[in-house]
Symmetry: none
DNA sequence: TGACACTGTGTACATTCGTACAGTAAATTT
DNA sequence: AAATTTACTGTACGAATGTACACAGTGTCA
């Protein structure tokens, strides 16, 4: 199938975008993919456009289509392993931003310092995605304002009183005497290695 | 200062990018900002370029500069707290993808099943970002192919032999007798709550 | 085998690009 | 008040853009 080759080409264009933050011109695409004619690009682009990977800007130049940033998620199971996925497979495919952030205007990113949420898989240096709102459920990981300080803890309840529980045995459960405020709820987390 | 007006203009251009995933041409910028001449754009762009917000693509068109996507990540410290960032909604959709994925075409996402990397902060259901390559350093978290099965472990060395170390005391260190292959290296991880 | 879609080549072309240069009007400096 | 700088207008222009059309090679399918 030409499909496979198109996806190989798409990969190169995605790499170009990752590097330059803009899509190449027709001529550059031709150069990038080894075509000797710009017209080869025209039809190639038309194919990708049908599938939503590439689109046209108001001025006919190329711009990323709605699926351009999508990524394939493969399933790994400890025992069974997984196969290398391709676009053809009907696996979930997502853009990470869209997946993690639902309400951009109410969402902020916070780099976490300290190990108090270590056992919840939130390490020093991780970034948490926080949706700003005043209400949370027991069990949610929340950003709370306590004594005018922000802190990241799991929201719990003891004897009808809300408590803030760290996910690390070395830290104490906080039982706020006065009141505290919920700044937001952690809806996601990410980490970069290296 | 003209500075303020420039930033106001920059905001409009960032909005344009958020919508179109590409920067406008000089003519469109003029239109967007209410200029009647393209040349007004030339000098305006020159100013933003000096500050690193906008750059030129290989073909002289505009592309986002290194500071264009500056995302507002607040720092949280356990004791000191953090301040609410000012530009709440300038998180663009490309931000996280771009941060986590450097080589899109060689990168795949894998949903992790099992608790074998729990102590490394990789939980059941988390998604890891894997850059496909055959070589890794000791200490890297790798996806290895062992007995035709894929597995996620930390790469270690014992007596000059590579070993695969799970980040969970309940799992054994794997000392491959035969050879194993490195499928890729984990360069990032993310998780969604709720 | 022949018809026919694909994929890419090569040439031609109107449109649009970003830039150069000359000029105006207002703000800033001296 | 004169000189200079800044911010923008307006026209002109070579270069590069994306598109159109004719054509060649390859594989597919009846």
């Amino acid at each position: 199938m030409g499909q496979d080759k198109d996806f190989e080409y798409l990969g190169k264009i995605q790499d170009y975008f990752a590097e330059h933050k803009t899509l190449p011109t027709f001529s550059h695409v031709a150069q990038l993919l080894g075509f000797k004619s710009k017209n080869a690009v025209t039809s190639f682009v038309a194919r990708l456009k049908l599938q939503g990977f590439i689109d046209y800007a108001p001025d006919k130049r190329l711009k990323p289509g709605r699926r351009f940033f999508e990524r394939i998620i493969a399933e790994s199971t400890v025992q069974a392993g997984f196969a290398t996925p391709t676009y053809g497979d009907s696996l979930d495919t997502i853009g990470i931003d869209d997946y993690l952030i639902e309400k951009p205007s109410q969402t902020i990113l916070i780099t976490v310092r300290g190990d108090s949420m270590k056992d919840a898989g939130i390490f020093d240096g991780d970034v948490v995605i926080v949706e700003k709102r005043a209400f949370a459920n027991v069990g949610d990981i929340v950003v709370a304002i306590l004594n005018k300080e922000f802190t990241l803890k799991t929201l719990g309840k003891e004897d009808g009183q809300f408590v803030l529980i760290p996910a690390n045995r070395d830290f104490p459960v906080i039982r706020p005497n006065g009141d505290f405020e919920i700044f937001g709820v952690v809806v996601g987390q990410f980490r970069k290695y290296g």
